[in-house]
């Protein structure tokens, strides 16, 4: 964009640059956020402002003459923040927002919450009217880009931690868990977390068992299941489809013999063991039985790694989408930048034509009939249109080819100042110009 005017700036800090101790000093929410937005907007030279504040980042997006006010905001809240700040301008700032919204800059790549948080930040800024056309368009483009990234890449697919991975595994075996039964053996923390996560897949029953029935009951209350005596383990294994095992036992609680017995009783319906205990509670031999799937904590860790790596590959594709969207956004901005010149040029010429026609009519109008007078007016407009036809087309071409030299040359040549036309949609201005032409 041609220099001189206000530009888009980003100043911020995130989990990548600043420790939590600094991030929590500068984080904002609710009324403090709105006050800060109003305060920044009130500074001279600041036209638009939006603040994204989450536990992982605080970022200020400004349309302003400089980023000075944003830096001051940070150093006023925490003097040590200055050394953790990063700054971007123009398309660099836009790119960063696209990346943030698409969850490419998140601590857990592909996590879904961040898009909602960016939307909240935009809504908060809209609510106190500190954003205008530029940041609005930028944000909507960022939202659309994030959706594209989510739909066209597998970045949000897969899981980040062990209980999510357990859910993923179970889904690859059973699809959903509708009508099925989860069995939780033992009172380990991991088992409890995973049982809660799995219950979200629509299981019909959650059975809980433990050597101590009391603890089983307490656990059952926490995960929303039914406590069962440990002595009935055979029967429980016959009913369950997924067995989460996390006991404090030193050896194998589930032996191949026990598993085979259960499989016979259940007509070899698929059974999945997820062993979350260290040392292991499920003999890995069990996994060799037909329609038995057995995983231990190492397998789950391996899957966590695998999905993280897959996400890194997806991130490369996501970046390509972002670059494409950024280019499209840039082109739109260029078109927008050329349009004020075009509109000014047209209006200038139209006014001239009108004035000249009026002058002519004032002198000889009395000798003409109504048709003659209209012909004079029409001729003046026709000359304007003919004369401006080629320049109009060239300016539009230059705008979409991202050539900013021609619009400024046109302004120079015709002695025009571009009008501030921020509130208006470019398509609207274009069609206006088009209509005037006819």
């Amino acid at each position: 964009v041609s220099g001189g005017g206000p530009d888009l700036f980003l100043v911020g800090l995130s989990h990548r640059t600043a420790p939590i101790a600094v991030r929590e000093r500068v984080a904002l929410s609710g009324e403090h956020l709105r006050a800060a937005l109003r305060g920044l907007r009130a500074q001279p030279g600041v036209q638009e402002v939006m603040v994204i504040s989450t536990c992982n980042r605080v970022e200020i997006y400004l349309v302003a003459d400089s980023a000075r006010e944003a830096h001051r905001f940070f150093s006023e809240r925490a003097p040590q923040a200055a050394q953790h700040l990063y700054q971007e301008q123009g398309s660099g700032a836009a790119r960063h927002l696209f990346q943030v919204a698409a969850s490419l800059d998140s601590m857990v790549l592909g996590e879904p919450q961040i898009l909602g948080q960016v939307k909240e930040a935009y809504d908060a800024a809209s609510a106190v009217s500190t954003v205008g056309g530029q940041i609005s368009r930028l944000c909507h483009r960022a939202f659309a880009t994030a959706k594209r990234v989510r739909n066209e890449t597998a970045i949000a697919v897969g899981a980040g931690n062990v209980s999510q991975v357990a859910v993923e595994l179970v889904r690859k075996i059973f699809g959903g868990l509708e009508g099925r039964t989860i069995l939780l053996i033992g009172a380990g923390k991991m088992g409890e977390l995973s049982a809660k996560a799995l219950a979200g897949l629509g299981a019909r029953r959650v059975l809980v068992t433990n050597r101590s029935l009391e603890r089983a009951q307490a656990l059952a209350a926490r995960v929303g299941g039914e406590a069962q005596p440990f002595s009935g383990l055979h029967q429980l294994l016959e009913d369950a489809d997924v067995a989460l095992v996390s006991t404090a036992a030193d050896g194998f609680v589930i032996t191949p013999a026990l598993a085979e017995q259960a499989m016979l009783a259940r007509k070899r319906r698929t059974l999945c063991f997820i062993d979350l205990a260290v040392p292991r509670n499920v003999d890995p031999e069990c996994g060799g039985l037909e329609n038995v799937f057995a995983y231990d904590i190492d397998d789950l860790q391996k899957l966590v790694q695998a999905t993280r790596q897959a996400r890194v590959g997806e991130a490369v594709r996501a970046e390509a989408i972002i670059e494409a969207e950024l280019m499209a956004f840039g082109r739109e901005r260029q078109t927008r930048a050329a349009l004020p010149i075009l509109a000014t040029l047209r209006r200038h010429a139209e006014e001239m034509a009108k004035a000249e026609a009026e002058r002519t009519l004032a002198q000889i109008g009395s000798q003409l009939d109504e048709r003659g007078r209209r012909s004079v007016e029409a001729m003046a407009h026709a000359i304007v249109n003919k004369l401006l036809h080629a320049p109009t087309a060239r300016l539009k071409d230059a705008a979409s080819a991202e050539d900013s030299a021609l619009p400024s040359a046109a302004a120079e040549l015709f002695g025009l100042e571009p009008e501030e036309d921020e509130g208006r949609d470019p398509a609207e201005v274009l069609s206006l110009a088009e209509r005037k032409k006819r």
Binding site: N151, E152, T153, A154, V157, G158, L169, R171, K172, I173, F174, G175, K267, R268, R269, T270, G287, E290, N291, F293, Y295, D299, K302, L303, A306, T307, A310
Partner: protein, 277 residues
């Protein structure tokens, strides 16, 4: 002309397979553009294929599919149709990546042009029973072919899930349960339609040869195939058979079908081959 149309069709199938495979590589999301493109190309190929078959029948002055060549053309066409229906019902585009190459593989040997024409087929075998027999047999086999593809997917997926490999297929193929249920409905329908083929075949045999059953090699093989798929349907129902062993047997069953279909087509040994007397 029909051969040229078939070549065009084969190209379209190849393009469709390409899109389905591309979709699989990209992550196999339902509703993705590559999958949609694959499905549309398949539909267009199916329609042109139908025209090619009609044209072929006209050129031969009769039902062309009584030759091995024509049979393969018919089989590919019905498989494409069956998959299109399946895709409407289940929307699992990753299955397309396995089925469309299979269709192409069936069609490719026919592209050099027809071998023996209708002259070799005597009038005795043209009967109403025959058309029902042949078309239901082909449709049944087409369903078994798709079931074969789905069973292959099951085994590949099970290898990843059970073997803790978590590779590319793990994130891209549907769940084991979904594949197993798909296999179930395909085998069930295939068995039903194949039964129709067997019964009508027997009636036709009485008309043409004078008796319902005479243990010619192809009949014997077909009966074995029918019994195998019947056992699969029954054992799933009564003994809860599912998963790996059903997938393996589904593939074995299709190998039998292919063996009798192509084997006896190439080396005629009984009345189903070139020896019609």
């Amino acid at each position: 002309v029909s051969v040229i149309l078939l070549r065009v069709t084969a190209l379209l199938y190849a393009a469709s397979a390409g899109f389905y495979l591309w979709n699989l590589v990209r992550g196999a999301r339902p509703g993705a553009r590559a999958a949609t493109a694959g499905a549309w190309l398949l539909l267009v190929a199916f329609l042109i294929h139908a025209v090619a078959i009609g044209w072929g029948c006209k050129e031969f002055g009769g039902t062309e599919f009584l030759t091995l060549n024509g049979g393969l053309v018919m089989l590919a066409w019905l498989s494409a149709g069956a998959y299109l229906v399946l895709d409407r019902i289940h929307h699992i585009p990753s299955v397309g990546a396995f089925v469309t190459p299979l269709i192409l593989a069936v069609l490719v040997p026919t592209l050099r042009g027809p071998g023996a024409g209708m002259e070799t087929v005597p009038a005795i075998i043209r009967s109403r029973w025959l058309s029902v027999h042949v078309s239901s047999a082909f449709l049944g086999i087409a369903l078994f072919a798709i079931a074969f593809g789905v069973a292959l997917m099951y085994l590949l997926m099970e290898r990843e899930v059970k073997g803790k490999r978590f590779g590319a297929l793990f994130s891209r193929l549907p769940s084991l349960d979904q594949l197993d249920r798909l296999n179930q409905s395909l085998v069930r329908w295939g068995f039903l339609i194949f039964s129709v083929a067997l019964v009508t075949g027997a009636f036709f045999a009485r008309e043409a040869w004078g008796q319902f059953w005479e243990w010619d090699p192809k009949q014997t093989f077909s009966l074995m195939t029918w019994a195998l798929y019947g056992a699969l349907v029954q054992l799933r129902h009564s003994a809860g058979w599912h998963g790996r062993r059903v997938a393996v047997l589904t593939m074995v069953g299709f190998a039998l079908v292919l063996g009798s279909f192509v084997g006896f087509g190439v080396m005629p040994t009984g009345r189903h081959g070139g020896d019609w007397q």
